[in-house]
């Protein structure tokens, strides 16, 4: 367009501003009506509870009933001074370390294999590998509880067949956390492979062709092309998996209920126990929930900052 049309452009801006006015109130109201159900539900059941949760965390709530006494930050100081709380923090961190790197590494390796050959068997590979994605945490817990059964479970039966005396997976404080971690990684695997595969398939083939011309082998191509170009996807996977690892609940509830002792009791499970099991401490539970949320948000933030330098953006 020619320079002479510039004033007309300026007019358009003003025109646009004016065009909104006739009937704009009706237009606004119509939009709000379309949005109302979503906004109301999110407002009442997502945003309001944030404030309410913080308020509860500043109160001591009667175990049976709803009487509340304002105690300031008492719940928080009690938590920070309690070894149980720090145990739960450590368990949550172990979960993160145990599930995130392993889960993502396995998923990326599988995605690389899946993206290589196209064959009549592809649908079968995908079906078998993706299937955990539709399994609930409760069912995953039940399936693994059977496999882990020390006497008649398949894992120990198979280990016994090769002469290994399998441990009592779920009741030994050495193995319980590992056992739960495996179940969590398993259920998350389908999701991670799908995301990794989607990321791989966005990488333009011309990069690989150029590298091949330069004589790069398969491993070199993975190292110098696939992984750097996959880094936005990897960042996404890390953040999501960290959040999910902190939220592991169903498998723990079914497999160990936080035990033996408190060896598999992460923060979420502790919130549940304090808030809903036996003598209830809703104020204390809310304070833990609040700290957990702060940790989750902080972790996502730190990872974004830390990774950003190394992420290759296309």
């Amino acid at each position: 367009m020619m320079k002479t049309t510039l004033p007309a452009g300026a007019n358009t801006a003003r025109f646009r501003g004016r065009r909104r006015r006739p009937g704009s109130l009706a237009r606004d109201i119509k939009a709000y009506l379309f949005l109302a159900p979503t906004l109301v539900v999110l407002g009442i059941f997502v945003y309001f509870p944030i404030i309410e949760s913080f308020r509860l965390s500043l109160n001591r709530v009667a175990p049976f009933g709803s009487a509340e006494i304002f105690v300031g930050f008492d719940n928080y100081t009690r938590l920070l001074g309690s070894s149980e709380f720090w145990n739960n923090v450590v368990v949550s961190l172990f979960f993160m370390v145990g599930t995130v790197p392993v889960g993502i590494a396995i998923a990326v390796a599988i995605a690389l294999l899946l993206s290589y050959p196209v064959s009549r068997l592809s649908w079968l590979h995908r079906t078998l590998i993706f299937v955990p994605v539709v399994i609930s945490s409760a069912v995953a817990g039940v399936l693994f509880r059977w496999l882990y059964n020390p006497v008649v479970g398949h894992i120990n039966t198979w280990l016994g067949a090769v002469g290994i005396d399998g441990p009592e997976w779920l009741t030994s404080s050495n193995w319980a956390l590992f056992a739960v971690t495996v179940a969590v990684v398993w259920r998350q695997l389908g999701f991670n492979v799908i995301i990794a595969l989607a990321g791989l398939q966005q990488i333009d083939n011309s990069y690989y062709e150029a590298a091949k011309v330069d004589g790069a082998g398969v491993l070199a191509r993975v190292r110098y092309i696939t992984l750097p170009l996959l880094s936005p996807t990897l960042l996404f996977l890390v953040v999501i998996n960290v959040i999910i690892s902190f939220q592991a609940f169903g498998e723990i509830d079914i497999l160990t209920m936080g035990g033996p002792g408190q060896s598999t009791e992460n923060l979420v499970y502790s919130v549940f126990v304090d808030g809903f099991v036996g003598t209830r401490f809703r104020g204390l539970a809310s304070a833990q929930a609040f700290l957990l949320a702060v940790i989750i948000v902080a972790f996502s933030f730190i990872q974004f900052r830390g990774f950003r330098k190394r992420v290759h953006y296309r």
Binding site: V41, F45, S66
Partner: protein, 303 residues
């Protein structure tokens, strides 16, 4: 993630080979051997991943005495429906399943409907506060459920909705992810179509249901599947908001089956229960894998 890439992913026939497409094929045997080894590796990996599900299904059809004598007897092919009979009669499993279907049905229907409405408003309308309200919707995705479920429990209990379908469903009637996904999709529909329809005298409402929704069948199907799975697989909320047996969902029913001392060693019946609970999701997976994979690849959602 672009929808194109996701489509490619979901379409087996159009899979792009990483670093392999258009490549001159090194002749004969070496390539064949390489492909074969990848195929076999994948089959082994797939087999390992599927073990927990396959073992559960086989166990559910094996007589209990044989299971307890030797777990490997599940491969012997001596099948029975006894475990299903036990699971169905010893616990109100039918009731649990009906509860799950009602709860899931309400949540799925509402999430899809409300997401269509809100996604349409964000995609098509100019109105005051649009940017803020969109951030309001997306921001809700960052709030962890652990932070909200105690206050929600208190609120729902005070309303007298514990042990009711309202209590099970109302907090989940909206889906921020659904709104975002459909808004993105609606924005790809050419604006000219809307202008033309308006000139023809079609209302916003009519355009939404007669043009937009039919054009967006794929995206809406993906969201429906996603909402269905999310609702069906819910655990923490139904666990805390129901304590009457008659209102438990199937996921919670199976937990209490395990907790029941008399039944806790009846692994045949427990596996039958687990199989029944996962059956609807497995069917969705088998028959709508394409839409499901597309939905996940576009998500960024908590599992």
């Amino acid at each position: 993630m672009t929808i194109d890439a996701v489509d490619v992913l979901a379409d087996d026939a159009a899979v792009v080979e990483v670093g392999q497409a258009n490549e001159a094929r090194p002749a004969g045997r070496r390539r064949l051997a390489g492909e074969l080894s990848v195929q076999i590796t994948l089959l082994i990996i797939g087999g390992i991943i599927a073990i927990p599900i396959v073992v559960a299904i086989f166990t559910s059809f094996t007589p209990l005495p044989e299971i307890l004598a030797d777990p490997n007897s599940i491969w012997s092919g001596n099948w029975t429906f006894d475990n299903y009979d036990t699971a169905w009669t010893a616990t109100p499993f039918g009731r649990f399943m009906i509860n799950s279907f009602i709860q899931t049905g309400i949540i799925t229907l509402a999430q899809v409907l409300f997401s269509i409405l809100a996604g349409y408003a964000f995609a098509m309308f100019e109105f005051r506060g649009r940017t803020f309200l969109f951030a309001f919707v997306l921001g809700s995705l960052m709030v962890p459920f652990e932070l909200t479920f105690i206050p929600n429990f208190v609120l729902i209990s005070n309303l007298g909705w514990a042990n009711t379908y309202q209590g099970l469903t109302v907090p989940f009637l909206a889906s921020a992810f659904g709104v975002f996904m459909l808004r993105q999709f609606f924005m790809t529909v050419p604006r000219d179509l809307y202008d033309a329809a308006r000139i023809d005298g079609i209302s916003d409402w009519g355009y939404l249901w007669k043009v937009m929704v039919p054009l967006s069948r794929g995206a809406i199907a993906a969201l429906t599947i996603f909402s269905f799975l999310g609702a069906w697989n819910q655990y923490l909320w139904p666990l805390v908001i129901t304590n009457e047996e008659s209102m438990r969902t199937a996921q919670i029913g199976i937990r209490f089956f395990l907790a029941n001392q008399e039944r806790a060693t009846d692994w045949g019946a427990i596996m039958a229960g687990a199989t029944i609970v996962m059956l609807p999701t497995l069917l969705v997976f088998l028959f709508a894998q394409r839409q499901l994979v597309r939905g996940i690849a576009m998500s960024g959602l908590k599992g």
